[in-house]
């Protein structure tokens, strides 16, 4: 790494912009703008800065449609939108996936379109914190805003989360290093524990590293709960951790004044998936008998929580909502994108502000090769290589304003700092336009004429 002099050549600064990278939604960024481009970003982490100062080589600027030779061809907006609307209107099992890197204003149009046509609406939670949400639904959700952590927490546990790599400012701005009202000495007033099979970068700057074995999460947390109940452990080593360490950790957690458990994909992607988090939540609930504990899932995209919140107030379910029968349905293994793709059910797939090409397993993506794929995004990415219609959107928080929800549910209005490229459109406009075109093509949505609601309910 080489030293880089600070950027001094800029026209003006836009202050207090919100970062459009991870669920931290840092809202203190300053953009240095020259000739309508952001040339430098102050306060952002490496990830945030890299996103905001995007690579223009791969910026999607003009709508494109795949031609008969399988090559993308630039077309005008009308042609591209009509083509996309045609795919959607003719589909029986459309899936609209993504939404986590766009604003709730766009989602509003999306849910209108999805409900009209009878689509499945799903977001990135389905491949990251979906199990967390399922665990929340089974066990509860003791959460707090990040300011509470900053002001009160004296014990921070990261479990299956490598904050230093995926939420680089999390420790600095909200959790560990920052000074809080009751924690005036910052890092020195806090104990940091990292629970992760890997000796990750976060573990390296923690006071304690619990390197439990791969897939052993459930057994490990169960043992802590047993200890909290006063039980003697009879195995010497549980999930790769000596029992003495578990006693010690449980004691430390009980004695914290205010503890917070941050958990990431390390828990959701392993063997017992949602149950890892389920039992971690139960552990936090147990700990509240002794002191104050809370937890927060380390959400990845800046608005992945926003979609879950948005869908919850629009239809009562957080993600993976299937409108195909004209009412919302939410069922694990049935209405989620990966399951649908693996079962080869969808016949039209719209990706908005997401990149299944980069994130879905081969087994799911294979089906995308067989069906029309519509992509709304700002960059040429792996999904573009599978897309049949490409609609260039705009960059929320930089080129376009919108609402997002931080990982702890605090809403943030992301403001606009620069103009978007002339040929791009706002995501909100694109989806609304699609909705109107689909409505024209399919005047009467073909939904089930009969449904008897649960008679006990009302």
């Amino acid at each position: 790494m080489t030293y880089e002099p600070p950027v001094t050549d800029y026209d003006h600064i836009v202050e207090n912009c919100t970062c459009a990278f991870c669920g931290c939604n840092c809202d203190d960024l300053d953009y240095l703008v020259k000739d309508g481009h952001v040339v430098a970003v102050r306060h952002a982490c490496r990830l945030g800065a890299s996103k905001i100062m995007e690579d223009m080589d791969q910026r999607l600027i003009v709508p494109m449609i795949r031609d008969e030779n399988g090559e993308l061809k630039e077309v005008d907006w009308d042609t591209a939108l009509d083509k996309a609307a045609e795919y959607i209107a003719n589909s029986i099992r459309p899936v609209f996936y993504g939404w986590s890197e766009t604003s709730t204003e766009t989602m509003k149009e999306g849910v209108a379109l999805g409900e009209y046509i009878g689509a499945v609406l799903d977001n990135q939670a389905t491949i990251c914190h979906g199990p967390s949400l399922q665990a929340v639904q089974n066990a509860g959700y003791p959460i707090q805003t990040l300011g509470e952590v900053q002001n009160r927490a004296d014990m921070i546990a990261y479990s299956g989360s490598n904050a230093m790599n995926s939420h680089p400012r999390h420790m600095a701005r909200y959790a560990v290093f920052c000074r809080g009202y009751f924690r005036q000495r910052g890092r020195f007033d806090r104990t940091v524990v990292t629970m992760d099979p890997k000796f990750s970068d976060t573990a390296k700057c923690s006071d304690k590293w619990i390197g439990f074995e791969q897939n052993g999460d459930y057994g490990f947390y169960n043992a802590i709960r047993a200890v909290l109940r006063g039980k003697e452990l009879y195995q010497d080593v549980i999930s790769g951790i000596p029992k003495e360490d578990i006693y010690e950790l449980a004691e430390e957690m009980k004695n914290a004044e205010f503890g917070v458990l941050f958990f990431g994909l390390g828990l959701t992607h392993t063997l017992s998936k949602q149950r890892n988090i389920d039992i971690a939540i139960k552990m936090v609930q147990d700990l509240n008998k002794y002191s104050k504990w809370g937890l927060t899932p380390m959400r990845g995209h800046f608005n992945v929580n926003g979609f879950n919140i948005f869908m919850a107030f629009e239809c009562g379910f957080a993600f993976g909502v299937d409108y195909c029968r004209g009412y919302p349905r939410y069922m694990m293994g049935e209405t989620n994108t990966i399951d649908l793709l693996v079962r080869k059910e969808p016949d039209c797939f719209m990706v908005i502000a997401a990149d299944p090409g980069a994130h879905f397993p081969n087994g799911a993506n294979q089906h995308l090769a067989d069906i029309p794929v519509i992509q709304i995004d700002i960059h040429w990415g792996p999904s573009t290589e599978l897309a049949d219609v490409v609609l260039p959107g705009s960059f929320i928080g930089v080129e376009c304003a919108g609402t997002s929800y931080r990982m702890d549910g605090v809403p943030i209005f992301m403001k606009k700092a620069i103009d978007k490229p002339e040929t791009c459109r706002d995501d909100e406009w694109i989806v609304r336009e699609l909705k109107e075109r689909v409505m024209k093509l399919r005047e009467e949505p073909n939904t089930a004429p009969k449904y008897v609601p649960n008679p006990n309910a009302l």
Partner: protein
């Protein structure tokens, strides 16, 4: 008695939803009614007769007098027998999701495998699956803490993960092996497993009984060893032989019982804590 036979003409890649075709709804239908009926597929409806030839024989005055026989490849037919309260369904093939979900009476026989959520939240009746089932057999709807409350599920083959999740009554009998976390969160009822169990049965259980006749890979710390019992009697059934009995899950002050066949788990007491092979957990039970 009325026999309704569904013979498949063609399959669909998008699942057909059979939640309206249960004895409670169709006991009075004639062949002409079926010819008019449109079955939901994705966001649309299509004539049922495009996919199935329906033959009706006999008369019925109520759902109990109906026998449905469904022939063909049902791997993309979901919600078979969902919410039924009586009658009899025979599926001569593997079936898709939610077979027998929320049923309160009657019986379903699946002569093949069943996909996930078989018998979810059933409150009565009898569901038999000759082959394997996938995840959440006899489980609850997500978020719901009251799962299956009555009736019986018999799985001839293996059961997937989280079999009998939140079980609140009834009995699940798995004749083959069971994947991880069988009986998680259960509060009542019985799970009997003839084969082996990979890891962690009964996580966070409050009450109820799990009987494992085969080998258990890994047990949770939340279980307290009670000792060896001979010929234990669980809800009126006596299981012959020696069993190791545990109580759990202590994390919830649980009073659930876990019986392990002492013969099959001879080493359990001695070499407790041996690791099983992760490989098994991910692949093996899946493809059996």
């Amino acid at each position: 008695m009325k026999t309704i036979t569904f013979d498949q003409i063609k399959t669909s890649s998008i699942a057909l939803e059979f939640d309206e075709l249960i004895p409670d709804e169709i006991y009075s239908w004639t062949e002409a009614d079926f010819a008019k009926y449109q079955v939901p597929i994705g966001n649309s409806r299509f004539p049922l007769t495009d996919f199935f030839e329906v033959t009706v024989e006999g008369e019925a005055n109520g759902p109990d007098e109906v026998e449905m026989i469904i022939n063909g490849d049902l791997n993309r037919v979901k919600y078979i027998g969902c919410k039924m309260s009586g009658g009899n369904i025979v599926c001569n093939s593997s079936v898709d999701l939610h077979v027998g979900a929320e049923m309160s009476g009657g019986s379903i026989l699946v002569k093949g495998n069943a996909a996930a959520h078989a018998g979810r939240e059933m409150s009565g009746g009898y569901l038999e699956i000759e082959g394997n089932t996938k995840e959440f057999t006899g489980a609850s709807y997500i978020g719901e803490w009251r799962g299956m409350t009555g009736g019986q599920i018999v799985v001839g083959g293996n059961a997937g993960k989280q079999c009998g999740e939140c079980l609140t009554g009834g009995k699940i009998h798995v004749k083959g092996n069971c994947d991880i976390l069988a009986g998680i969160h259960m509060t009542k009822g019985v799970i009997e497993i003839d084969g082996d169990v990979n890891r962690w049965p009964g996580g966070q259980m409050k009450n109820g009984n799990i009987i494992i006749h085969g080998f258990l890979g890994r047990l949770l710390e939340g279980f307290v060893l009670n000792g060896i019992v001979v010929d234990p009697e669980v809800e009126g059934v006596t299981y012959e032989g020696k069993y190791i009995q545990y109580t759990g899950d202590i994390g919830l002050n649980g009073k659930g019982n876990l019986y392990l066949d002492a013969e099959a788990n001879k080493e359990k007491l001695a070499t407790y804590g041996e690791l099983d092979d992760e490989y098994t957990s991910i692949r093996e039970y899946r493809n059996l």
